[in-house]
Amino acid sequence: MSLSLQSQIESILFAKGEAMSLEALAEHTGADRQALQDALNDLEHTLAQEGSERGIRLVQTDTTAELATAPEASELIRSLNTKELTKRLGKAGLETLTIVLYQGPVSRRDIDYIRGVNSTSILRNLTIRGLIEQQESDDGTRALVYQPTTELLRHLGLSRREDLPQYNEIAGEVEQFYHEQNEPEDVSGPAEEESADVPSDQGAGETSRSNESTDSRTG
């Protein structure tokens, strides 16, 4: 067997037929994380090379990767009628996805703060639709944060969220906005405490539900 790492990844992702975690990819290929990431980037470029664009593309998030048809083929694929139609987004969904895409990983608290309303139910809805997913923050706090999924990127016709317009210009400024806020206001009212809400997490963990009182910041 003499397939390059990027071709091995291509085989695995093709066989899997859905998004796969980078963790599982590393495990199956035996590659370390850096080599894996390099190979993924190579694969992405190979498939999207200008002038010889392939019919399939790689879609990546920070934690998962998936193969999908090329965005240029969307019309053609639609005529196949094999894939379900994209469901419409409401205003709340659109805003929330925008925040998760441009600023994720982001906590519900931060999303609430930006939108000025409780986002619990819209986040749940988008999670059920597979457009975003919740995971533990890797910054050591184990806080729960939301991330875009490859499914969301596929609906947008993007290989990675960095390809979104204004992405790079925005990313830096946002940090600043959060850091200026000493203490994000919790607009959530009595909703679930985040810590219990990770269904995909393997650890058991007690569900604690504390009623946070609405933090009223009157003028």
Partner: protein, 263 residues
């Protein structure tokens, strides 16, 4: 700085209407009010849309209570801004200044998200990239693991149940009591009409210098809003001898000076 007040009033007279569309929250509402007037986000534009915002507030009784609390809290900051624009010499505490700055910053950030969301709605579902199909083993092989015991499964089910979203339990009556603008206006009107004269402190519970709890603060703010509302509709006239002095409220029949009479 231009004089904002007369223009605001003109718009009242011309019957400026605010649509109660499905606003996502106070920031959404505020931003749309500002954009409707083609203004930039600033303390000046916020002062100008305060009245429209308050018009919405009156319909809050029909909103879900969890959100209405947020609408009210934002209104209290708007009232500060409005008061400051009416009484330029009014001293705001550092905390109040911070609240105003924060509201502006949040609005700007929210506006940016709304702008950016244009990129998303433009693309979403247009050039969709279809997923593949699993090509792994398709024949079913019964493959249990040692995790499969009725006890483990029952525990998993309990974990699922504990995460089901619960109905929001908000002490509705309490929140409503504190924040009902309409009620406060009625109370005020009645009281003033009865006595022809009143003091702000009498119905708001506000005493200068005494620290207020958050709930009391909302009451004071709502009372102040209600008073402004009555001034605006020409029902009362208010006067204040010096800054921070008691505000005297007087019932009157014909509308002459309006906001200006606050000073």
């Amino acid at each position: 700085m231009r004089d904002e007040v007369p223009e605001t009033q003109n718009e009242h007279r011309s019957g400026y209407q605010v649509k109660t569309a499905a606003f996502e929250g106070p920031l959404d509402l505020l931003l749309s009010l500002i954009q409707k007037r083609k203004l930039f986000i600033s303390d000046i534009s916020l002062a100008r849309v305060t009245d429209d915002y308050i018009a919405h507030l009156k319909e809050l009784e029909e909103f879900p209570v969890a959100d209405s609390a947020q609408f009210i809290l934002t209104s209290s900051i708007l009232v500060l801004i409005k008061s400051k624009s009416l009484l330029p010499t009014l001293d705001l505490t550092d905390e109040e200044e911070d609240d105003i700055e924060e509201l502006e910053a949040r609005l700007k950030e929210y506006q940016r998200i709304q702008d950016l969301s244009g990129h998303i709605s433009e693309r979403y579902g247009i050039n969709t990239m279809a997923s593949g199909t699993p090509h792994l083993r398709k024949t079913v092989t019964f493959s249990p693991t040692d995790e499969l015991t009725t006890d483990t499964l029952a525990l998993a089910m309990i974990a699922v149940l504990s995460r089901l979203p619960k109905r929001q339990q908000i002490p509705q009556t309490q929140v409503k009591k504190v924040i009902s603008l309409r009620e406060t206006i009625e109370r005020l009107t009645e009281r003033i009409q009865r006595s022809m004269r009143g003091r702000f402190s009498e119905f708001s519970g506000y005493e200068r210098g005494r620290p207020l709890s958050k709930e009391e603060r909302v009451t004071v703010v709502v009372s102040f809003l209600a008073m402004l509302e009555l001034v605006k509709t020409g029902l009362v006239q208010v006067s204040q001898r010096a800054h921070f002095d008691e505000i005297e409220i007087e019932h009157r029949d014909i509308g002459v000076p309006r906001y200006n009479s606050l000073e």
